[in-house]
Amino acid sequence: MTDDLLYDEHGRLRHLLTIEGLKRQTILDILDTAQSFIAVGEREIKKVPLLRGKTVVNLFFEASTRTRTTFEIAAKRLSADVINLNPSVSSTKKGETLLDTIGNLEAMHTDLFVVRHANSGTAYMIAKHLPDHVRLVNAGDGRHAHPTQALLDSFTIRQYKHDFTDLKVAIVGDILHSRVARSLIHALNILGVPDIRVIGPKTLLPVDVERLGVSKHYDMYAGLDDVDVVVMLRLQRERMQGALIPSEQEYFNLYGLTEEKLAMAKSDAIVMHPGPMNRGLEIDSKVADSDRSVILPQVTNGIAVRMAVMALIMGGQGQGNRPNVRSTGGES
């Protein structure tokens, strides 16, 4: 990945594509700015005028409710105009290529794209083709990255645990297919978390996962020992057909977060989940609804963090003349 897609010539964040390659200070700036947006969300009028007159297109090639909605609310609270598109059921079905779709939206003077796609690397590929003044936020690409989720998780961890440099964090479940896990591991490493553990069955942990700077555990009891933070991942039920796990019941017995297993963690450990949860599969309802769970605060924080990301990458974006938009695509 080339740095000039991540940062502009003034060292300002240009596109948010991944967590890898971000400076520690950039992540801290995002978290600090998000803290101020939390206060905006508690006011009578939950809007600030930063992105007035800007157009944000939520381009979700892959289904999502929470992420798309929180991006939409975030952009609206920044006073942007927001368009939601689900191209898998519109133009791409008619044979339009991805870059043609983007080109058409650019021609409508889009200022910021928020993109989710099932293929890894899509956000990067689109960003490479965008003109200078247009920005992109990756809202999840394949197994590769989900940077805003990692940032909101980091924000939530800091909210409850204050300091990253003394923490033990366990991430449990399907690490292999999880862009959430990958991005979060990078973020926690950059923020200086000294003890990051991944827990799951052999079939769902990448073979060389230690290279990411984590330790690997197959036994959940041992893995949760003395941790401050437990991050549960969603088990995608389609993994069952690939024979990666034997049965739902056995998975729950071994890796479902129950009060009994959580007792291994510190008594003030928090439980996180990016959603949507499978109750009774990766997490027991009792734990999900307990006072240890910060799953709903994660959602609220997600709005503030996405506001911060959009505000930081759109700031200074209006300087200079707008170059002509690329001419591509045709009538649809």
Binding site: Q35, S36, I38, V48, L312, Q319
Partner: protein, 168 residues
């Protein structure tokens, strides 16, 4: 130009001018960062009991699309409602008036105050908007390349004004 400022007497002047205007449900709000320092001093001199409100106007600046956001934005803290209040808005230096415009826009996103008056330690020339101080510690005429800045000694909390001259 070698100017020394007697900030204490400027603050006394401001407090004296504000005291007769405290009858109607006053709420003092300082603008980060220098305005909060001045407001803290006035708040103490006037014996106000209600906590001071603070505003960070970063989300309301009119130059956001030109220069971007200051990542060191602080949280605005208006714990009490501004609805129906007589607000004393405090800043350190009134120059172009753009900060005050942004601050007023932000205040109205919290509610509808009955009135706002503006108190500034220094009111200098160079206004770009029809905004004037109702109460000022001192008025100054400076050249466009001169900038006056309030600084605080982190050890003892004392305030000082420094005059800087940019090379032309």
């Amino acid at each position: 130009m070698n100017t020394t400022f007697d900030i204490d007497s400027m603050l006394d002047t401001m407090a004296g001018a504000l005291r007769p205007r405290l009858d109607h449900n006053p709420l003092m709000i300082g603008i980060h960062t220098g305005g909060v320092w001045v407001a803290e001093q006035l708040h103490r001199r006037l014996g106000l009991t209600e906590p001071l409100g603070t505003l960070d106007i970063s989300f309301y600046r009119d130059d956001f699309s030109r220069i971007g956001m200051n990542p060191q934005v602080r949280t605005s803290d208006l714990s009490t409602s501004v609805e129906g209040r007589h607000i004393i808005l405090v800043d350190d230096v009134l120059h172009t008036g753009r900060t005050i415009r942004a601050a007023m826009n932000e205040i109205f996103d919290y509610g509808r105050p009955d009135a706002i008056i503006l108190a500034c330690l220094i009111e200098r020339n160079g206004h770009e908007l029809p905004i004037r101080a109702d109460v000022a510690g001192q008025s100054l005429t400076l050249r466009p390349n001169q900038h006056i800045k309030l600084v605080r000694n982190e050890k003892d909390g004392t305030l000082a004004l420094t005059l800087q001259e940019a090379n032309e």
